[in-house]
Protein backbone atom coordinates (compact mmCIF):
# COMPACT_ATOMS: atom_id res chain seq x y z
CA UNK A 1 0.00 0.00 0.00
CA UNK A 2 1.03 3.59 -0.63
CA UNK A 3 0.03 5.96 2.15
CA UNK A 4 -1.13 9.35 0.86
CA UNK A 5 -1.28 12.37 3.20
CA UNK A 6 -3.03 15.70 2.78
CA UNK A 7 -2.49 18.81 4.90
CA UNK A 8 -4.00 22.23 5.43
CA UNK A 9 -5.58 23.70 2.31
CA UNK A 10 -5.18 20.47 0.32
CA UNK A 11 -6.84 18.40 3.06
CA UNK A 12 -9.76 20.85 3.00
CA UNK A 13 -10.21 20.37 -0.75
CA UNK A 14 -10.09 16.56 -0.73
CA UNK A 15 -11.98 16.55 2.57
CA UNK A 16 -9.72 13.99 4.16
CA UNK A 17 -6.30 13.83 5.70
CA UNK A 18 -5.13 10.43 4.57
CA UNK A 19 -5.91 7.73 2.05
CA UNK A 20 -4.25 4.66 0.59
CA UNK A 21 -3.48 3.60 -2.96
CA UNK A 22 -2.86 -0.02 -3.92
CA UNK A 23 0.82 -0.60 -4.64
CA UNK A 24 1.72 -2.22 -7.93
CA UNK A 25 5.35 -2.96 -8.83
CA UNK A 26 6.91 -0.30 -11.04
CA UNK A 27 4.35 2.36 -10.19
CA UNK A 28 5.53 5.96 -10.24
CA UNK A 29 4.58 9.12 -8.44
CA UNK A 30 2.79 10.14 -11.61
CA UNK A 31 0.49 7.10 -11.33
CA UNK A 32 -0.56 8.13 -7.82
CA UNK A 33 -1.14 11.73 -8.88
CA UNK A 34 -3.31 10.51 -11.78
CA UNK A 35 -5.26 8.21 -9.48
CA UNK A 36 -5.93 10.85 -6.82
CA UNK A 37 -6.46 13.58 -9.40
CA UNK A 38 -9.25 11.53 -11.01
CA UNK A 39 -11.01 11.13 -7.67
CA UNK A 40 -10.58 14.76 -6.62
CA UNK A 41 -10.42 16.94 -9.70
CA UNK A 42 -9.31 20.44 -8.76
CA UNK A 43 -7.50 19.40 -5.60
CA UNK A 44 -4.13 19.53 -7.30
CA UNK A 45 -4.32 23.11 -8.50
CA UNK A 46 -3.00 24.26 -5.11
CA UNK A 47 -0.42 21.49 -4.67
CA UNK A 48 3.00 23.14 -4.80
CA UNK A 49 5.15 20.47 -3.16
CA UNK A 50 5.15 16.70 -3.12
CA UNK A 51 7.14 14.68 -0.62
CA UNK A 52 7.94 10.98 -0.78
CA UNK A 53 8.92 9.59 2.61
CA UNK A 54 9.22 13.13 3.98
CA UNK A 55 11.62 14.32 1.34
CA UNK A 56 10.52 16.72 -1.35
CA UNK A 57 10.62 15.25 -4.86
CA UNK A 58 10.35 17.07 -8.15
CA UNK A 59 10.46 14.18 -10.62
CA UNK A 60 7.03 12.69 -11.22
CA UNK A 61 8.66 9.64 -12.77
CA UNK A 62 10.08 8.75 -9.34
CA UNK A 63 9.50 5.01 -8.87
CA UNK A 64 7.62 4.15 -5.69
CA UNK A 65 8.08 1.27 -3.30
CA UNK A 66 5.53 -0.55 -1.21
CA UNK A 67 4.70 1.34 2.01
CA UNK A 68 5.98 4.66 0.69
CA UNK A 69 4.40 7.77 2.25
CA UNK A 70 3.41 10.51 -0.16
CA UNK A 71 2.32 13.98 0.92
CA UNK A 72 0.58 16.53 -1.29
CA UNK A 73 1.18 20.01 0.03
CA UNK A 74 0.12 23.59 -0.69
CA UNK A 75 2.61 26.42 -0.31
CA UNK A 76 3.89 26.57 3.24
CA UNK A 77 2.79 29.42 5.47
CA UNK A 78 4.48 28.71 8.78
CA UNK A 79 6.38 31.19 10.88
Amino acid sequence: MIKVLFFGPVADRVQMRETQVEYTPGMTLHDVIAHIGMQYPGAFSIVSFIAVNQTQVHDKQTVLHDNDEIAFMAKFSGG
Binding site: F7, A11, Q54, F76, S77, G78
Partner: protein
Protein backbone atom coordinates in the same frame (compact mmCIF):
# COMPACT_ATOMS: atom_id res chain seq x y z
CA UNK B 1 18.62 21.13 28.36
CA UNK B 2 15.69 21.00 25.96
CA UNK B 3 16.08 20.04 22.34
CA UNK B 4 17.32 22.93 20.17
CA UNK B 5 14.75 22.16 17.45
CA UNK B 6 11.16 21.61 18.51
CA UNK B 7 7.57 21.63 17.33
CA UNK B 8 5.25 22.01 20.28
CA UNK B 9 1.81 23.21 21.31
CA UNK B 10 2.94 24.97 24.48
CA UNK B 11 4.51 28.40 24.72
CA UNK B 12 8.27 28.91 25.19
CA UNK B 13 10.46 31.33 27.10
CA UNK B 14 13.12 33.43 25.37
CA UNK B 15 15.15 33.46 28.57
CA UNK B 16 15.18 29.67 28.76
CA UNK B 17 16.17 29.34 25.10
CA UNK B 18 18.95 31.92 25.51
CA UNK B 19 20.24 30.20 28.64
CA UNK B 20 20.28 26.88 26.81
CA UNK B 21 22.45 28.50 24.13
CA UNK B 22 24.78 30.04 26.66
CA UNK B 23 25.54 26.88 28.60
CA UNK B 24 27.00 25.42 25.42
CA UNK B 25 29.73 28.01 24.90
CA UNK B 26 31.49 30.83 26.70
CA UNK B 27 32.70 32.18 23.37
CA UNK B 28 29.33 33.63 22.37
CA UNK B 29 29.59 37.37 21.74
CA UNK B 30 26.16 37.89 20.18
CA UNK B 31 22.78 36.18 20.05
CA UNK B 32 20.25 37.34 17.48
CA UNK B 33 16.68 36.18 17.85
CA UNK B 34 13.47 36.45 15.91
CA UNK B 35 10.11 35.96 17.56
CA UNK B 36 7.04 35.66 15.37
CA UNK B 37 3.77 36.55 17.09
CA UNK B 38 0.11 36.49 16.18
CA UNK B 39 -1.27 39.84 15.06
CA UNK B 40 -4.90 40.80 15.50
CA UNK B 41 -5.06 42.37 12.08
CA UNK B 42 -4.02 40.96 8.74
CA UNK B 43 -4.77 42.03 5.18
CA UNK B 44 -7.37 44.47 6.42
CA UNK B 45 -9.46 41.97 8.38
CA UNK B 46 -9.70 41.30 12.10
CA UNK B 47 -8.19 37.97 12.99
CA UNK B 48 -9.44 36.39 16.20
CA UNK B 49 -7.36 33.20 16.10
CA UNK B 50 -4.67 31.58 14.01
CA UNK B 51 -4.56 27.82 13.67
CA UNK B 52 -1.46 25.90 12.60
CA UNK B 53 -1.09 22.51 11.03
CA UNK B 54 2.20 20.73 10.29
CA UNK B 55 3.42 17.66 8.49
CA UNK B 56 5.10 16.88 11.79
CA UNK B 57 7.95 14.47 11.02
CA UNK B 58 8.95 16.27 7.81
CA UNK B 59 8.67 19.71 9.43
CA UNK B 60 10.91 18.65 12.29
CA UNK B 61 13.44 17.07 9.92
CA UNK B 62 13.53 20.24 7.78
CA UNK B 63 13.98 22.43 10.86
CA UNK B 64 16.88 20.25 12.02
CA UNK B 65 18.50 20.47 8.59
CA UNK B 66 17.95 24.23 8.59
CA UNK B 67 19.69 24.61 11.94
CA UNK B 68 22.64 22.52 10.85
CA UNK B 69 22.96 24.40 7.57
CA UNK B 70 22.84 27.74 9.40
CA UNK B 71 25.50 26.65 11.89
CA UNK B 72 27.82 25.61 9.09
CA UNK B 73 27.04 28.44 6.66
CA UNK B 74 27.45 31.25 9.23
CA UNK B 75 29.99 29.53 11.53
CA UNK B 76 27.55 29.78 14.41
CA UNK B 77 28.37 28.46 17.85
CA UNK B 78 24.78 27.25 18.23
CA UNK B 79 21.21 27.87 17.04
CA UNK B 80 17.67 27.04 18.11
CA UNK B 81 14.36 26.84 16.26
CA UNK B 82 11.00 26.38 18.02
CA UNK B 83 7.61 26.45 16.25
CA UNK B 84 4.28 26.14 17.97
CA UNK B 85 1.57 24.15 16.22
CA UNK B 86 -1.70 24.93 17.95
CA UNK B 87 -4.32 27.67 17.93
CA UNK B 88 -3.04 31.08 18.99
CA UNK B 89 -4.57 34.47 19.73
CA UNK B 90 -3.32 38.02 19.18
CA UNK B 91 -0.03 38.56 20.98
CA UNK B 92 0.77 34.87 21.35
CA UNK B 93 4.16 33.50 20.34
CA UNK B 94 4.34 31.39 17.18
CA UNK B 95 7.95 30.85 16.20
CA UNK B 96 11.34 31.48 17.79
CA UNK B 97 14.70 31.52 16.04
CA UNK B 98 18.01 32.16 17.78
CA UNK B 99 21.53 32.29 16.38
CA UNK B 100 24.62 32.51 18.60
CA UNK B 101 27.98 33.52 17.19
CA UNK B 102 31.28 35.01 18.27
CA UNK B 103 30.40 38.29 16.55
CA UNK B 104 27.15 40.05 15.85
CA UNK B 105 27.16 40.09 12.04
CA UNK B 106 27.06 36.29 11.73
CA UNK B 107 24.37 35.99 14.42
CA UNK B 108 22.15 38.64 12.80
CA UNK B 109 22.57 37.30 9.27
CA UNK B 110 21.97 33.70 10.32
CA UNK B 111 18.83 34.64 12.25
CA UNK B 112 17.37 36.34 9.24
CA UNK B 113 18.37 33.51 6.92
CA UNK B 114 16.77 30.91 9.18
CA UNK B 115 13.39 32.62 9.46
CA UNK B 116 13.32 33.30 5.71
CA UNK B 117 14.23 29.68 4.91
CA UNK B 118 11.83 28.28 7.50
CA UNK B 119 8.96 30.00 5.74
CA UNK B 120 10.07 28.53 2.40
CA UNK B 121 11.00 25.03 3.44
CA UNK B 122 9.11 23.85 6.50
CA UNK B 123 5.73 22.16 5.85
CA UNK B 124 3.53 24.15 8.22
CA UNK B 125 0.29 25.87 7.25
CA UNK B 126 -1.52 28.74 8.90
CA UNK B 127 -5.26 29.36 8.92
CA UNK B 128 -6.71 32.70 9.96
CA UNK B 129 -9.96 32.45 11.86
CA UNK B 130 -11.95 35.65 11.50
CA UNK B 131 -15.50 36.71 12.32
CA UNK B 132 -16.15 36.39 8.57
CA UNK B 133 -14.87 32.80 8.40
CA UNK B 134 -11.65 30.85 8.16
CA UNK B 135 -9.06 31.02 5.44
CA UNK B 136 -5.71 29.42 4.84
CA UNK B 137 -2.97 31.97 4.49
CA UNK B 138 -1.46 32.20 1.05
CA UNK B 139 2.18 33.15 1.37
CA UNK B 140 3.35 36.23 -0.43
CA UNK B 141 5.81 35.56 -3.23
Amino acid sequence: MSNPVRIQTEDFSQDEEINALKVGSKRIGGIATFLGCARDFSEGRDVSEIGFEAYGPMALAEMKKLREEAISRFALLDARIVHRVTTVHAGDNIVFIAAAAEHRAAALEACRWMIDELKERVPIWKKEITPQGDSWVTPHP
